[in-house]
Each structure stands twice: as C-alpha cells, then as structure tokens.
Amino acid sequence: MQDCWLVVPLFNEGSVVGEVVREARRTFPWVVCVDDGSSDDSAEVAERAGAIVIRHPVNLGQGAALQTGLDYAVGDPDAKYFVTFDSDGQHRVEDAADMVEVLRSGETDIVFGSRFLDARTTPSFLKRVVLKTAVAYTNATTGMSLTDAHNGLRAFNRTAATLLDIRQNRMAHASEIVEQVGRSDLRWREHPVHILYSDYSLSKGQSLWNSVNILGELFLK
C-alpha cells in the first residue's frame, strides 16, 4: 500500500487514536492525521504512533480537516489512492484495504463504504431512522442512489481526489461530497463495511440534533 494515503481527521481522540494509527500502519504506511485544534494530546499521540500530523491553528470542522489532509496527500506524486478514515476506531482497516483493491481494478473512481449493504452492522433503531432519512434526502437532492449517506470511510483515486473541493467545513461535508460526485462524471460504487460501535465511539458519535444542523448548513449554502 505504498501508493496510498490514509486521511484521518482528528479531534480530541487522544485515548484511542494511538491504537487506531498503529493498527492502520500495519497495512497503510502513509497516514496523515489532521488535528483540528484538539485540546488534548491527540496530535502527540498520533505522531508517536507514526502518523504525519498536520495541525489546524484553529478548529475548523471535520470537512475542513478532510480537505486539508487530501490537499496534503494529493501533493505526493507517488500517491494513487486516498482513503478517508475515522480516528475513533469505528472503521476497520480491512475494509479500507478492500476498498483500495476495488479502486486498483480501475473499474471505478470512488468507493463509498456502506453499513447497509449487508446485515453486518447493527445501529440502534433511532439511529437507523435518522440515517435512512439522511439517505433519502441526499439521494433526492443529489440524484445519487446511496444506501449510506454519512459514512466516513471512502476511497478515492487521484482523479476523484483532485476533483473534490470540500467547502462545507462542518458536518454537512458528507452530503457535499456526495453532491459533487453526483454532478461530476466520476464513477462510483458502494462497498459493504462493518462499523464497530463501542461505548466510547457511540458516546462521541454524531448527535441527532446535528441532523438538523446539517440540513440547515446545506440549505443556506
């Protein structure tokens, strides 16, 4: 995986990011964490675990962190594939590796991870309802037909990564990515992934209130 970069937005995950980065680096040697103004020791922990850490001077949001990481990684002439990966341990490295293999086949430009393609992930009922609503809204407004609109695990080839221009700094970036893909000629496909819900990650997960904010941010573009 010498031609891949993992892009990991990071905000106050000092207690788990070390393990996440170490585990990821067993498969992906090149990992860039974008520390979005954490108040804890996330950046140092990630660095010690072997990641390259870019530090935002002020907190900008996960969307901004992703774009920063992508800008950086795309600047590597030897890099062909880019995977957005969460820092809280919810994503599996195997899934990321599988998605890169799909890209290597050359049949697609983007792979979106989806937790609803098979029955392997089981979010709570309420979370499922909110996610499905988000999917319906995203599909209706972007002309795409995804099964999972807010999955942080995505893989891009260079064509897709250079085309992407995330302007939504905060949580609306997920929908913005889908929208940009929908408007472009990029080939995309979904791939089943397993999201590991732990007590830790659930407590930090996106609150349902954010769904309202996401819609608000998108509407008031």
Binding site: W5, E47, I52, P57, V58, L60, A64, Q67, D71, G75
Partner: protein, 129 residues
C-alpha cells in the same frame, strides 16, 4: 392593504431570500446598493420636511398610516441586511479556512520530503522532526 402593495412586498421579501442563496458581490451590485442608500436618505429627508407626504403615499397603497409604511420598509431592509451579513460571514469563513490550511500544511515536511527521508534509511513514515 391592497393587492398591488402586497405583491410588491412579497416580491421584495422573496428578493431578500434569493439574495441569501446567490451572491451579490461585484461592483454593479455594490453600486446599486449605494444608489438605494442615497435614495433612502433623500426620501427620509423629504418625509421629514413634508410629514404629510408619508401618509399620502401610504394611502396610495391602501395602508392605514405612514408609520405602517415605514414599518414595512424597515422589515424589508432588515431582511436585506440579514442576507448580506450572512453571505459576508460565509465568505470570511472560507478565507479563514484557506489561510489556516496553508499555514498548517506549510509546517510539516512535504510528502516528497518524507519519502526521500525514508529512502535514505532514516525514520520511517511519520513523525515530526
């Protein structure tokens, strides 16, 4: 309140809303805004000198009092200011982001430098020097 004025008012409110969604930057729009401000100042001065004028204009549109006319005008102006302010705020956020991003990326070794370093048998990928 007669239909003509209602239609006019709705059109103005929708216009303010549309401004929120599209940009009104650029020299032409700025000039229009300045002319509108000038016109407003002129109208305000005139209505102070001729206080009955406001009531007459209001009656023309079928509104009760001159004060009501001013009130409606104020609402429309307020919506316009809201739209402009929101847009400016968003633009500033974008500029701030670009600035912060450039600063952050400049502080770390470039990916090429990292690979060169690794090629020389130095520290493996990652880590601040």
């Amino acid at each position: 309140m007669i239909v003509v004025f209602q239609v006019l008012l709705i059109a103005l409110v929708l216009g303010a809303g549309a401004t929120l969604l599209r940009g009104t930057a650029g020299a032409r729009h700025q000039a229009i805004r300045r002319l509108l401000l000038l016109a407003f100042v002129a109208a305000a001065v005139v209505s102070i000198i001729f206080p009955q004028l406001l009531s007459s204009v209001a009656a023309l549109f079928g509104i009760g009092r001159g004060t009501d006319l001013v009130l409606y005008g104020l609402v429309v102006a307020f919506l316009g200011v809201l739209a402009t302010t929101a847009r400016r705020f968003r633009e500033q956020e974008t500029r701030l982001t670009k600035l912060a991003r450039r600063l952050a990326i400049d502080e770390v070794p470039s990916p090429r430098a990292l690979r060169d370093r690794e090629g020389e048998g130095d520290v493996a990928a990652g880590g601040h020097v």
